[in-house]
Every structure is written in C-alpha cells, then in structure tokens.
C-alpha cells in the first residue's frame, strides 16, 4: 500500500489536473458559443450561393460545354482529398473521427486502383496521416495564427484547390470535416465539391432568369467562389465542432478526476485510520506486557 505521503501527493496532483480541465471546459464553452454563432450566421451565404448555382445549372442550355468545375473532367482517375482538422489537441474524438472517415475513403480509392492526393488543413490531421499516407500528402496548411475561422483563409485553400484543378492535377475533390449537430454529437462528413454534386436536389422554382452576362460566364465566375464558400462553411462547422467536442471531453475529464479524488481520499483516510489503530494496538499490547 502506498504511503500516506504518496497518497497526499497524488490527491494534490489529480486536483490540479481537475482544475486545468475545468478551466479548459469553461474556455471551450465560451468559444463554442461564438463559433456556433458564426456558423449559424455563415449559413445564409452558402445556402444562397447553392441556390443561385442550382438555378444557373438548371438554366444552362448546353450541358456538354458546361464548365469543368460543374460537370467534371469526364474521368475519375485522381482523387484529391482535403482533410480538415484542428490545430490543437485535447478535444476528444474530434480529429480521430475525421481521420477514421477519411482513411476509410482512402482505402476504397486505393483499392479501386485510383490515384490519391491529400491536402491536410490543420496540423493534427497531418500528424496522424503522415505515418501511413505520408507520400500522398501534397500540401499541408495550418491556420494556427488566425484566431477564428475567416473567409480569407478559406479563400486561400479554395484558390489552391482550383489552381491544382486547372493544372489537371486531379479529377474529383472531396472535403472532410465534422458537421456540428450539437455539443455531444459531431458527424464526420465527406463532401464532394468538384465536380459539384447536385443530384437529388430539385429546383423548386420553375421561373426563368435573365442572365447578364450569359450563364456560362456567370457560372465560370461563380463556381470558384463556391469552392471557397464550401470550404469556409466546413471551417466554421469544424471550429464549432472542435469546441463542442473539447467541451464534452473536458467535462468528462473533470468528472473522472473528481471520482479519482474521492477514491484516493477514501484510501488515504483508511490508511491513516489503519496507522492509528496499529499504533494504539502497539501501545496497548506494550502496556499489557508490563
């Protein structure tokens, strides 16, 4: 059995760990509110953008000559995967869930004999993927300096993706991120952004639009913007998910630490009691033998 002194030290150390996790939980809760707010505020933009593109692609007359970003290159040989994770750890299963989802997808692609290229956004994803898929990672981006997800950063990623697409480096692009459902549930998502996947969505309005300039030109201007918008949306969802995940992880950690302190305290009291009893027995038996 550990000595009284050791137990005391352990209790103190668990208590200080508990303080840290508690503080992290509070910070995450405060950040979560902000992240959630900006995720909600960002939704109208991407929804409207989607709507306009839907209207446009339905209005397009010549499907054959539609921009490549919309219709694809006509083949599916090289896949680009943008895996979006956080830059910081201690957020429960947040990063591992995305990685797990992404790895499943990677295995499928490689099984089919297709080529795979990976861009990682966020250093945690890069850390986890580089061991197995190190040679497939072509780019690693990290926004450690930016405090909140901002459009400027998303635009940088978007422009890079488009550049690579135009250079013919890949045919299909998928982004991986966590969709924020609520504090305890985040759903890892794989969303295909190139070519744009509009199947299953019916245009609600039959109304025809006037386009100025013509559809093709608007589309070719709009589609690159849509890529950045989708990435930005993923970033917002991700940052809300990260904080939510961290909050519940830290909440659990705080509770576990509390349980551990209780257990250790009982053990401490018991061994203190045992020591006292032992001393008493020694005194009594000593007195009796006289």
């Amino acid at each position: 059995m550990a000595s009284l002194d050791d137990l005391k030290k352990r209790i103190a150390s668990v208590k200080s760990t508990q303080k840290i996790t508690k503080a992290m939980k509070m910070v995450a809760a405060a950040k979560l509110r902000r992240a959630q707010e900006s995720a909600e505020k960002g939704r109208p933009y991407s929804e409207k953008m989607n709507n306009v593109i839907l209207n446009l692609s339905n209005g397009i007359s010549d499907k054959e000559n539609a921009p490549k970003l919309l219709s694809g290159t006509g083949q599916e040989k090289t896949h680009l995967c943008v895996v979006m994770t956080s830059d910081r750890g201690l957020c429960g299963g947040f990063n591992s869930n995305i990685i797990k989802k992404a790895k499943g997808y990677f295995a499928k692609i490689l099984d089919e004999g297709k080529e795979l290229k990976i861009i990682t956004v966020g250093s945690k994803g890069n850390d986890q993927l580089k061991r197995v898929y190190g040679d497939k990672i072509i780019e690693n981006i990290s926004f450690k300096e930016s405090k909140n997800a901002n459009y400027f950063d998303a635009d940088k990623v978007g422009k890079m993706v488009i550049e690579k697409f135009e250079a013919g480096e890949f045919d299909v692009c998928t982004i991986f991120y966590n969709q924020f459902k609520n504090v305890i549930t985040q759903i890892p998502q794989a969303q295909q952004i190139i070519p744009l996947n509009n199947e299953g969505e019916e245009n609600s309005s039959e109304e025809s639009y006037e386009f100025e300039p013509d559809e093709d030109e608007i589309l070719s201007n709009l589609l690159p913007k849509n890529i950045s918008t989708q990435i930005f949306k993923a970033m917002l969802e991700n940052s809300a998910s990260e904080q939510g995940s961290r909050m519940s992880a830290m909440d659990n950690a705080t509770r576990n630490a509390g349980e551990m302190v209780d257990k250790l305290t009982i053990e401490y009291n018991r061994s203190r009691q045992a020591a006292i009893t032992k001393e008493l027995i020694e005194i009594i038996s000593g007195a009796e033998s006289l």
Partner: protein
Amino acid sequence: MSEEFKVEIVNPEKSFLVKDDVSEVVVPAFEGEMGILKDHISIISFLKPGIIKILSQSGDENYYVEDGIVEFKNNNLSILTSTIFNLADMDKSKQQDLLKQAEEEANKTDINDQSKYLADQKVEVLKTLN
C-alpha cells in the same frame, strides 16, 4: 400599391444588411451599372468593384463592394459579396489603405487581363471616393 421591395446583403461571415423598404438599388454589375426597381424581371448577375446605392424611405445608403453576385427574384434582391464596406463608416485612412492595395495589385505584371481589369476598376472607384 407601394413601390418598395426587400434587399438582403450577405457576406460569408454573416447577414450584413436586411432592409424591406427599399425603393431603388443601383448595383455595379459587370456590364455596367444597373438600377433595380420593384417588379424587375428575375435576374442573376455579378458585380465588379463599385458602389451599391440603396435608396429607401429611411434614408439612402452607399456601400463599397469589390465583388459579388446579385440575384433578384419575386421582389427579393439578394447580394452575395465577400468584401463590403459602408461608406458612412469608412474613413479616409481606410480608403487610402484599400487604394494602396488595389494599386499594388494593378501594377503587378503577372496577372491575367481580367484580374488586371478588376484591379484597375478598384483603383478608379476608390479614387473617386477621395
């Protein structure tokens, strides 16, 4: 019948402005300025750098935009843009900063014609503000 319609400006971060007593909006569309009144035909167009003028009952407002898309449908005007500033909130130093950025961009030699054109537009518009 009133001659008012609704305008909504959204940027990626948030819904920037919602107004429903607007009588006319002038947007810098790619092929020239375009005034939109109530019951305009449904239209989609995109913007070049310029000034959005919103005329309404509660006062006129001017915004500087660098890019964006306009969609008008059922007397709802949606403007999607990533860079927008209210001219009333914009002071001289901010203008100068933007102008400097735009000029730098316009003076680059390795850009294509379209971005060159857009950068020139920016410079022109910002100069007229000063």
